[in-house]
Symmetry: C2
Subunit: 347 residues, 2 copies
């Protein structure tokens, strides 16, 4: 394992050769996957830069993985060679805590094994992600990709998709819900598609009128430009659920004012210190600020099946592996509609 790779320039000593990286020998429950596509998530860059102080180098990013089964272990029953499969952000968990037994492995009481930058629970070796030719994952954490889905455009569903689908489902968004999606990026564009497909009335809330028009093309019924004070006042106390996808620290006060009685603002992008807000905004109507992080394996499969049923995939821009550093730069400037996906044939 050497530490020079295409993305090494951005992330010092962060890479391994994605073609020659060691993957573990198949255990009975393992599925070996040839990776076809991998989505580019903002988390990949955060870890490359050690923004969260938990990075272990060298590492291989990528947790929006789609490919085909190359080989299965002796105990594997649900998959066979050639099946279209996917891997998200979680490749193992304790499998016995209440969260795991409730199919919310993402909230495992003992902590999940992340698809990269974690340690295998059995032998302690590092986990390496999907910017790579192949990956080996235990069967319970492998997802089926329905035939109806384009493989490349399905890749971002594994993180951006489930991160937005899970809170919309768990807060019972559906017909009659007045939903606002705050921020139009990788997560936000999926939030609009899902909220609409679930039957809600959907408003894109954005600083940019142009993004608002883009959101209409994705299915948003309305656009609310957050810098327009009159429009924000008119929308006061009108939303049942706000999906806040803004990935940087921001004041939630203007959005809390949009919540209707018993409404919830759900954070899925801001992993940071919460700026202050007045608690009266919550007390005056039993309102809540919540958060959500990806989703369990069963719900991720439900989401993929829902996408197949509704004809939903991510909007993507395909890149070659050697374009990743430029893609990361553009992602930081939100210069992508709406998710980069790496074509692993370019490795």
């Amino acid at each position: 394992m050497t530490a020079t790779a295409a993305w090494g320039a951005t992330a010092p000593d962060s890479g391994l050769n994605p073609l020659t990286i060691d993957r573990r020998a198949l255990r009975d429950e393992d599925v070996a996957i040839d990776i076809a596509y991998c989505g580019v998530c903002h988390s990949d860059l955060h870890v490359a830069r050690n923004d969260w102080g938990r990075s272990n180098y060298p590492f291989v990013p990528g947790h929006e993985i789609v490919g085909t089964v190359r080989e299965v272990g002796a105990g594997v029953t649900r998959f066979k060679v050639g099946d279209r499969v996917a891997i998200g952000t979680v490749v193992d968990s304790c499998r016995r805590c209440d969260a795991c037994l409730d199919h919310e492995e993402n909230y495992c009481r003992e902590g999940v094994t992340g698809t990269y930058n974690a340690k295998d629970r059995i032998d302690g070796t590092p986990t390496y992600g999907g910017y790579s030719a192949a990956i080996v994952v235990a069967e319970p954490y492998v997802l089926k990709v329905p035939d109806a889905l384009d493989m490349a455009a399905a890749a971002p569903l594994l993180c951006a998709g489930i991160t937005t689908y899970s809170p919309l489902r768990n807060w019972n968004v559906g017909p009659g819900s007045n939903v606002g999606v705050i921020g139009l990026g990788g997560l936000g564009h999926m939030g609009v598609k899902f909220a609409k497909a679930l039957g809600a009335e959907v408003t894109m809330i954005t600083t940019s009128p142009a993004k608002g028009e883009d959101a209409r093309l994705l299915g948003a019924d309305h656009v609310l430009v957050s810098t327009d004070k009159a429009a924000m006042t008119a929308a006061n106390r009108s939303f049942d659920f706000l999906l806040d996808t803004i990935p940087v620290q921001h004041d939630v006060t203007p959005y809390l004012m949009l919540l209707d009685r018993k409404g919830t603002l759900c954070l899925v992008g801001m992993i940071d210190k919460m700026p202050t807000f007045h608690t009266g905004l919550l007390l005056g109507g039993q309102k809540a600020v919540s958060g959500s992080g990806v989703g369990g394996i069963a719900q991720t499969q439900e989401m993929l099946d829902f996408c197949a049923d509704k004809g939903i995939v991510a909007e993507i821009e395909m890149i070659r592996m050697d374009e990743i550093n430029h893609a990361w730069e553009r992602m930081e400037k939100a210069d992508v509609k709406y998710r980069f996906v790496i074509d692993m044939a370019s490795l």
Copy 2:
């Protein structure tokens, strides 16, 4: 109306003579009530001091009112002279918005008419509260006091009671719920009683071991002393619902760490700027910070009936009207178990 009253020393120009205060002539829907007892709420002092910047002087505090019907208007159907009745924090609302139609008048879209320091919706005269001999209130905002309840000890149910009952009910606390009540005062002691009566497992969370023991007498199953780091760590991620009754600004981080997956911390005491916390505490398990403010008339009646059924009243210390200033001083030091109630016979 003159401006000298017993509590005037604490609240400059805040009083009216509670014996001679003008009450409006009965409208068809009105109920005139001889006040027997009035609970002393921390809000009374906040308004007396203009802590919230919205006080109109002179004013008469008091919104935990119990008494008997003296006279009814021509259109009143549910009450007759001599009935035991109660008035809480709300004496009118728009009666036509979605909140009012949903029996959540407390969250009226046009704003409620408070029991004191507000203006009557019809003639614009000031509303005066329960530190007084009598009050006139429209029938839809008058509550029945079940025979089983002691009238004096029922008074605090009208604010401290419903403020804690409403969130416990609306967040579906019941058998199987692991509930923590944070802070043991007027609200907290009702929170413990209600959570227990609803069937939950109840923990008093307090800085004071002595208060913990007091809470056991009220029905708490467990005590968690929040300054005991080992105990707090052991309780990490174990509560479904936390009722936070602390009435002053405080850091919620130690409490958010106690929330289990999908758990909610509900603020009912802190009306202030929220100190920062890390959003990861919400994202890691779809958790929420919420708030709640009193309750609707129907739910308040439900609460009174529940109290009668379960044998619940507030723990009170009875005072005379001329002791109110000293009582306010003691209340500020939390030197009361757990609610002062004014005996209006002392007027």
